[in-house]
């Protein structure tokens, strides 16, 4: 069990050791985003811009335009929310090579409540022209995804979480831009998941197997570009389609999968996510129960 933000901190330290051009920006949340792990090792290459996210994005872009390999971090709400136009007009429009690593995405933030729970960032970032959007499901995929981001040009948004999640991958697992990972070959149904919900979907898959139902789980870690072929193949090969995400169902992976289906292989999709409402303050596990991010809730949908 490890949070993806912690894996991000470890990645920065590992890569920072090999490469002096790696620069890290934060906005007074270095402890929470885990960039303080890098700061402790390489204080001269860590820049805390203070509580000013818009300025942080601009400054980080200036550094990136000077040829450095830049990672900028804050909570998803202050990145995709507060600094939206800076990301759009400064980072994306100018095709800046920058890694926007947003932590504390979704209601999994927990006690900090709705003001800090970004449930719109996938939608906000996905719609920006040329932006690449990625969301790892565990510690291993976090490091592998960040690794290929280092070699991808342009702006990238990487959605990370606060809470600890189970490790589901191993050292042999592969990740690429525009890719996805499919668990199982079941034909009874497909569960599309991303980030925190991949682990939950895998639990549901096991439970369903006990009932004699063979499902597959698709980790859509590359949200944009999305793996259209896999989505279409799953629609062709399996009976029931469900998506589950710790994000608004408006503009999240459910919407993205729907778009692909609508264009290429029309089929019903059951979307589990946050309805048109805000999150709530509370323990993350309890919130996940309340909002239906549990294997039991997934199974209800299948059984109905």
């Amino acid at each position: 069990m490890k949070s993806t933000r912690k894996a991000y901190g470890e990645f920065l330290v590992e890569e920072g050791k090999k490469d002096n051009d790696i620069m890290v920006f934060d906005a007074d949340l270095a402890m929470a985003t885990c960039t303080n792990m890098f700061k402790n090792e390489y204080p001269n290459r860590h820049f805390d811009i203070g509580i000013s996210e818009q300025d942080m994005i601009g400054t980080a872009c200036g550094m990136a335009l000077s040829g450095k390999k830049v990672f900028a971090s804050t909570f998803a709400i202050f990145m995709a929310g507060r600094a939206y136009e800076q990301i759009r007009n400064t980072a994306a429009y100018s095709h800046v090579n920058i890694n926007l690593c947003a932590t504390h995405a979704g209601i999994a933030v927990g006690e900090d409540g709705p003001t800090h729970q970004c449930i719109e960032d996938i939608a906000l970032m996905n719609v920006i022209p040329t932006m690449k959007v990625l969301c790892p499901a565990d510690d291993i995929s976090t490091k592998k995804i960040l690794k290929f981001c280092l070699n991808e040009s342009g702006p990238k948004y990487i959605r990370l979480g606060r809470s600890e999640v189970p490790t589901i991958y191993n050292d042999e697992s592969n990740f690429k831009l525009g890719g996805s990972n499919v668990f199982g070959t079941g034909t009874d149904g497909t569960i599309f998941a991303v980030g925190n919900t991949v682990g939950i979907a895998l639990e549901a898959k096991e439970e369903l197997a006990k009932q004699g139902k063979d499902f597959r789980v698709v980790d859509l870690y590359s949200i944009k570009p999305v793996d259209r072929n896999t989505i279409v193949n799953c629609a062709k090969e399996t009976d029931i389609l469900v998506s589950i995400e710790d994000h608004s169902i408006i503009g999240g992976i459910g919407s993205i999968v729907s778009n692909v289906l609508c264009e290429e292989y029309p089929k019903k999709l059951i979307k589990i996510g946050i309805e048109d409402r805000f999150g709530k303050s509370g323990n993350y596990k309890e919130l996940y129960k309340l909002f239906g991010f549990t294997k039991e809730h997934i199974m209800e949908n299948f059984n109905n």
Binding site: I49, Q54, M56, I57, T59, G62, M63, L65, S66
Partner: protein, 162 residues
């Protein structure tokens, strides 16, 4: 490339990159007195100060016009020089139409060895009678006739560039 209110942050990032790589040279950033109503500009002034970015030279083109009218009517800066100075910048105020004053101010800014700002007082549309200080020309282009008239006036006035 850069959208309003966002320029100084980027210049600071470039200045920081130079500093960390021990590279010589300066980053020049030009902003208008209208766009600096944006909060990000003041965040960037604090960043400039925090990292002692003496290799960034900020110019404020102060023509007192923005889309809706005069800056002093929309959201006055009151004493702009004093305000910028309070962020810890070495601040000079000059005639922005004098190349000589610009040159001297840049030299002084470099000598100051601290984050610096040059407030350049200007007249928007200077040298063209129908444009000078007219807010309507903030974001409009010339038609053929206006273009001919404007060029004629600039030539007749032998518009001084010293």
């Amino acid at each position: 490339m850069v959208h309003f209110g966002q320029g100084l942050s980027i210049a600071n990032g470039m200045g920081l990159a130079k500093k960390i790589s021990n590279e010589k040279g300066y980053v020049y950033c030009l902003v208008g007195d209208g766009e600096i109503e944006e909060g990000q500009f003041y965040e960037a002034l604090m960043t400039m100060n925090k990292f002692s970015l003496s290799n960034v030279i900020l110019f404020i083109d102060k023509n007192n016009l923005q889309i809706d009218g005069k800056v002093e009517d929309i959201k006055s800066h009151r004493n702009l020089k004093k305000k910028i100075e309070s962020f810890g910048l070495y601040t000079q105020e000059i005639n922005g139409h004098s190349f000589d004053e610009i040159k001297k101010a840049i030299n002084k800014a470099k000598e100051a060895k601290m984050p610096s700002c040059i407030i350049a007082n200007t007249i928007k549309g200077k040298g063209i009678s129908f444009m000078e200080n007219e807010v309507a020309w903030h974001g409009k282009s010339l038609n053929d006739e206006e273009y001919k008239q404007a060029m004629k006036e600039l030539e007749e006035n032998d518009y001084e560039i010293n």
